[in-house]
Amino acid sequence: MAVQAGRGGLIETNRVIGRGQTSQGIDDVVNTPVLSDVKRTPLWWWIGFGISLSLLGVYLISVVVLITTGTGVWGNNQPVAWGMPIINFVWWIGIGHAGTLISAALLLFRQPWRTSINRFAEAMTIFAVVVAGLYPILHLGRPWLFYWLLPYPNTYGLFPQFRSPLDWDLFAISTYASVSVLFWFIGLIPDLATLRDRTDNRFQRILYATLALGWNGSAKAWQRYQRAYLLLAALSFPLVLSVHSTIAMDFAVSQVPGWNNTIMPPYFVAGAVFAGFAMVLILAIPLRKALHLEQLITKRHLDNAAKLMLATGLIVVYGYAVELFDAWYSGVEFEKYMAYNRVLGADHWWAFWLLIAANGVAIQPLWFRSVRQSPLALFIISIIVSIGMWLERFVIVAVTLTKDFLLSSWGDYVSTFWDWSLYIGSFGLFGTLFFLFIRLLPSIATTEMKELAHHDAHHGSDSFEEARERYYGEEARA
């Protein structure tokens, strides 16, 4: 069904949406797995959900141990006071950037290919932000007092320190999380109404009817809806950029050599988009196979996501170069030593070179179209990139802190069992939420896909596609 005969054997479609998709077809392909009976849930879902749930157990145990014992169970100490919790926080929140960027930025730039990947990418964003947001709270040591960061009337007569980037973080992340949830939910309303009208099951009907809030798709409602959605996109786009910039300022505003650097915000944002697209691909490639969505998430989507990954990856590599150049050009002894320690230092040189290999070298095959359109190759490259981005944060956070100003206060960082169990367990939290999402909600925005299919069929958006096909001559004429 999903493949067409063409030159060089079976080649999938290159169009933004498969040829001849109809409203009913899109509806059925996307909604059938969501509305099917519990007993007909596929085995792969139970396996994935089961693994995620057990990892979630690991996460909860790690949190309980942390809270009952204290942050001493982690490897954080002087001089490396920001260890794995902050590395993982930055890593997860970076992943949580692609979703809103795809939804918001690509909507504003009128890129039709955003439509089929935006919904699950937004879900991914929200779940990644949930996971990320818990790290700084746990890292407080006394997580139950996190509300001290909020400006609220209190008997101490105190406000939080608004000049501190750590408080900026709180505002940035909580705004980002709540606006992303709003954006996601508003986008879901017409799709929930579709589910409400399709189901025969009483429980599902009540569930989706409640969530759809009584949406009836009237022209006046659509008029306001579209304006609200466009405004939300316009507001979310700078918001995405601000979040990782703020996180970068946690570092850049300090005096630590290697952190106090003006390139940090843009370089962090590029890294976040890079890691985010890698995660989008890691999730999209199995998802389109498992749910038979190849006509809706086509090779074109993989290709475009890979191009963006390559572009942002090159910006990140440029960031590495500028960091080293700055260290040399500043003439500051400590900066120069920091650079030397990262690249050639006896303890952690391997981390730097591995990250160059992963983020700089491993993405180079993406220049080739055949690689960008090979799901397997993309999947492997995306995993390498995710590991590379973790190593980048390791180098920035931990390695930088091991040797800063005074020789007498140099030290090393050794992570502990509980550092790793919390990290591995966090995949359980993310996975559990994601598996529940793909089972209970449509992973593709059916309403927007219907609009796209209509445009595709009626308004001649094909001319570009056809020129493209002629140029590449790959897709067989039907």
């Binding site: 409203s23 009208d197 809030l213 798709g217 022209a219 659509w222 609009e451």
Partner: protein, 185 residues
């Protein structure tokens, strides 16, 4: 072609609903209805149709202005909160910076602007659309479940001055719909 539902008396009639198979037929019917002078009408479609609001004679939404106001309020609140706490309420010398060190207040001001305007956009849209709303007369239309799938509906409501049970039905039937139904309030 038409459905005989004479059981609905005039007081309980919400309107007449025509069901169409394609967007083009709906758009055509909407234009015809507008030029025939109907005003109290609405169309129901599975996805947004560009320009349909104008064809039905609807005014543009004021949502943008409301969101702008909310954004300005958010910016003032965000900056005001920081300025008040640092300059008036609890002045504290931090690293020799001036009390009103405004560049340090920009991030939170920005986040508050976005927070207020985004939630205003979302909630204003829902509120003005009357959502959440569990009951709406239009859901009584036979086959209306396809309004979220692949059918397009045009409803002329009884509150329209020109509404006339037989005349309006004849008008709608002339627009080549799949069927025309009377819908109970």
């Amino acid at each position: 072609m038409s459905e005989t539902a004479a059981s609905i008396d005039d007081r309980h009639l919400y309107g007449l609903v025509a069901e169409f198979e394609s967007v083009e037929e709906l758009e055509h019917a909407a234009e015809k209805a507008k030029s025939a002078g109907y005003e109290a009408m609405d169309a129901y479609t599975p996805y947004p149709v560009e320009g349909l609001d104008e064809k039905l004679g609807m005014k543009p939404t004021r949502l943008g202005w409301v969101v702008l106001l909310a954004g300005i309020t958010g910016a003032i609140l965000g900056f005001g909160m920081q300025w008040y706490s640092n300059v008036v309420f609890y002045p504290l010398n931090i690293g020799g910076k001036p009390l009103n060190s405004w560049p340090m207040f920009i991030v939170i001001t920005f986040e508050m602007t976005v927070l207020l305007s985004a939630f205003t956009a979302g909630l204003f849209m829902l509120g003005r659309n009357g959502l959440p709303r569990p009951y709406h007369s239009i859901f009584n239309t036979p086959g209306f479940d396809r309004a979220t799938r692949d059918r397009f509906f045009l409803c002329i409501e009884t509150r329209d001055e020109r509404f006339d049970r037989d005349g309006t039905r004849r008008f709608l039937e002339d627009q080549s719909p799949v069927k025309v139904s009377e819908v109970e309030r």
